[in-house]
Amino acid sequence: MATTTQPQTGAKPAASLSNEEILRYSRHLIMPEVGMEGQLKLKNAKVLLIGTGGLGAPLGLYLAAAGVGKLGLVDFDVVDFTNLQRQVTFGTSDVGKPKSEAARARLLNLNPDIQIQSFETQLTSANALELFKDFDVIVDGTDNFPTRYLVNDACILLGKPNVYGSIFRFEGQAAVFGMPDGPCYRCLYPEPPPPGLVPSCAEGGVLGVLPGIVGSIQAMETIKLILGRGDNLVGRLLLFDALGMRFRELKLRKNPNCPVCGTHPTIRKLIDYYEFCGVRGEEAPGPTVEVPEITPRELKARLDRGDELFILDVREPHEYQICNLKGHLLPLGELTRRVHELDSSREIVAHCRSGKRSAEAVDFLRKAGFRKILNLKGGILAWSDEVDPSVPKY
């Protein structure tokens, strides 16, 4: 059952469309499910997008094209080259620009009749309620747990719908939270995973089309909420498996013991979400292990001197294909099983992309009795920066 979301405006709602707007939205207007009434609802609607990245790209484009009267864009990031593979709002010439500004320019070009407000700021417990209060629907296009819980809780506290989407590699999830009598994200997941159990960069990545599909589903749900049409993803978790090309659906129940939307909520104001997610404000990184290091310049000098060093590359084979330092490839995940391939009498320099995985490898090998082993500080990225710019960064 869909619920109409009434615009909460101070100003008088628009009661008509201009002739240009009628032409622009004619394919909506000739559908009885939208019509003039629905198009005016869209025109009077205010939607806040949290994140203008992979999910935010189709969201922004489709909601602007559909004529949602006011779009808010919250993002503190700047466009970089690695974004362009999936964040289709941005062009190559946007690299280096703030995302919220670049997205605003692109969406205004698509539809100059709508109002777009960009907030080049990080969403925090201090600003969320103030940012959300002027919008009817909040769309969660974030990519991290602290912001996800923050968006959820702020929506519950303000009684606003939260259109949720999430992606990982080839899989996506979507749902609508924060509706009266419907569940919230905390009903589904009361707590986030601890950082140590979050997949590492070796397992990360996302196929560029996936956020396009999941973000489009969020855009559709947002428009249905505004129109008050159809069945929304309330009480249902939509799962999408792009590799198997299958959609599945699971039942989501409102948890009466939910700490934020249950019958006796214990969370009545926004909390410190970094602490809640095990990411404490100013502390040094936790799981990173302290191991002996060598800088890229030192390594280069020693190799040039002709020192006999064994270079151990603990990345994955597909990463080795992107670029390598002609090291011996032995992925971190296989190290325990294949440790016999290494000669502990030789001096070894381990590296990965950024230095994190190889630090774990060095720590493991030291515990296994290897004494002459160093970690390449900053990994292949730092090697590219400091020694050989012809090595591509990824």
Partner: protein, 124 residues
């Protein structure tokens, strides 16, 4: 016909890259027990040290959440599908931000240090 356990992609590296596995089991707990016996590395991702299912991992029998059935004692019958649904949050964006920051330097004041800590804590 046994019970099919669907393994989500974030957990596949700990399950021999399999996307599903089949076991004969009378309850959800039994099926997960077989699963974590066959793939020992999965255990710490699914269960706490005292053997309870982790709160950020949801388990469904067909389309029902076992928290609203009999939890791990939920009976299963041949042909049932057990789904493990962990919370996911795409991580590339943070990594990219982290890298952009390091390369550009100029935007450092824009990025709260907690984000950098987060970036390093999730392993980038």
């Amino acid at each position: 016909m046994p019970v099919k356990v669907m393994i989500p992609s974030p957990l596949r590296p700990y399950a021999g890259k399999r996307d599903s596995a089949e076991f004969s089991a009378r309850t959800v707990g039994e099926a997960l027990g077989h699963l974590t016996t066959e793939f020992a590395e999965l255990r710490k991702h699914l269960f706490t040290e005292d053997g309870k299912l982790r709160s950020f991992v949801n388990v469904y029998v067909n389309d029902e959440d076992i928290r609203y059935l009999a939890k791990e004692n939920t009976p299963t019958k041949d042909g049932d599908t057990i789904s493990i649904i962990p919370s996911i949050a795409g991580g590339l964006h943070l990594e990219a931000s982290f890298r952009a920051l390091r390369q550009a330097g100029v935007n450092a004041e824009r990025k709260p240090s907690s984000l950098l800590v987060l970036a390093s804590r999730i392993g980038i």
